[in-house]
Symmetry: C2
Subunit: 346 residues, 2 copies
Amino acid sequence: MTELVRDVNEDELLRRIFPLLPVGGSTQVGPGDDAAIVAASDGRFLVSADVLVQDRHFRMDWSTGADVGHRAAAQNFADIAAMGGRPTALVVSLVLPGETPVDWVEDLARGLGEACKPVRAGVVGGDLASGEEIAVSVTVHGTLDWREPVLRSGARPGDVVAYAGVSGWSAAGLALLESGLVRPAGNHPLVRAYLRPDPPLEAGRRAARAGATAMLDVSDGLLRDAERIAVASGVRIDFDPGAFAGERRVLSDAALVVAQAALRAGGAEELVGDLGQAEAANRLMSQWIWSGGEDHGLLAAFPGDATLPEGWTVIGRVLKPGQASPKVMIGGRRPAISSGWDHFQR
Amino acid sequence: MTELVRDVNEDELLRRIFPLLPVGGSTQVGPGDDAAIVAASDGRFLVSADVLVQDRHFRMDWSTGADVGHRAAAQNFADIAAMGGRPTALVVSLVLPGETPVDWVEDLARGLGEACKPVRAGVVGGDLASGEEIAVSVTVHGTLDWREPVLRSGARPGDVVAYAGVSGWSAAGLALLESGLVRPAGNHPLVRAYLRPDPPLEAGRRAARAGATAMLDVSDGLLRDAERIAVASGVRIDFDPGAFAGERRVLSDAALVVAQAALRAGGAEELVGDLGQAEAANRLMSQWIWSGGEDHGLLAAFPGDATLPEGWTVIGRVLKPGQASPKVMIGGRRPAISSGWDHFQR
């Protein structure tokens, strides 16, 4: 019989989880007291938070507990990397329905632990509460190691815009799962990118060392997040229409099968109109790459004469602020793509 | 017409909340970037987390948004105080159903802000997500200001046990609300203690300076939390049966009316048996004081010869570990009171 959260008391559940969580290289006092103590050698710390809610951010029939744990950690780490920092510690609050299997919670802890290991971050505390649906609330901490942070507000006209990580993979993986064409448990790289994003954490620190003027984690879609840099920096961003040629090669098969399935199901008029299948696939790819959120790649601006570090590709440039023109363009024109994700609008 | 969360987009909701949140004295980079930056001058920081879930930790018809915000902040601050620290920054993640009034969320932000002001803590970041029920997940940060932390594990035989803050007030306030005898919006001090706990934050720092050997925030009930100190320190704790005489005077009227109401409703057999009303009220008070959680008072051990700082009252002593005897006693005997709150058991 599956053991459920309601069958064990809170202390017992904590006893089961704690051994699965890494201590971390910066932890001075770990879980078990009123508060944990984490080192902040340079006299300040980075902090950010993300919450994942069942049936909004993950589906129990697609994601294992370990997938959710990995994803919660990884997307938080991306926020630290986007400042030029290095993750040190997580705090995790879980809201769990009584009918959640204890196995699932242990699996979540394992997923958090696996994601933490490469960066030597620890899980130093948290809270447990019961509720109607699972919510995984993670607060991440990081260190700048005495360097200056890379904010969103430093991009200057003349800078190049560059990207690190994958783009469109997560949205493509989600589309494959939604279409029923690929099963979550397989090892399809796009589905895996959706279930377990792998942000380019080291690229963030390399960008900071190379003099990046602005940087952010792309979680809501490239166009939408680029606009955040443009607004914060008081500039415009113009993307190269030929950017992401490599991503298009990776995504093309998935786009074709998803477009075929959509056309077969007769539900793709708004996407395709009277276009053919190839053009439908092309539009799908553009949508995934430019508006698909949750790849957690990094978008940054570098001085025009900077040597880009490993993992970074130029995809556009920073322009002076315009008058009426859009803040973010592709090839000098307003993108014909909806801009991205809003949690309360869809 | 009431404006609802689903009527505004995420950016707009953030624009409404941000001006209501205090910046804080330790904030170097506030909300709006991928991560915030908080000062940690002594090279480390305290961190703890608590989550409040609708209908588990608060009821929408009893608590205003400001009550919930105040409580979320206050109980987190208590965890920092219990280490001997001073709160510096909060991170707040909100899960909100689409039908939550925007007013309620603004009110929550105001409550957080009011609680932050006296300690000069800032709200430096967070996340928003939609869900089926409201969950307010707060991570609190604090500084030790170069002092050593007061852990749970330092109590030694011969120490005195002391308490700062109120005890039983929150449980009494909840009982008054549940019995329908008092309305939440009034200014009844016990109801207010339940809706807006006011932990003795300064007493925590004074205890640290006075040499407290162990300390914790009493959130799950005095007996249960005392056992945590006993286990962590490898000692026993014996409370004075005459402790909290002052609290009994404050609580006696409330205990009488709640006992009367319970006896009238005929649902108090398990509590009262064939005892009279006065004895029923007496038992109720003991239950509230020794097992009622959420007052967020501080329980600490001090060396036997220490001069107790302002706000602290001796309520017991630390004994050597026993063999089969209970870890926590009242007057040398196993308490005839159930020990406290478990989130997954009730």
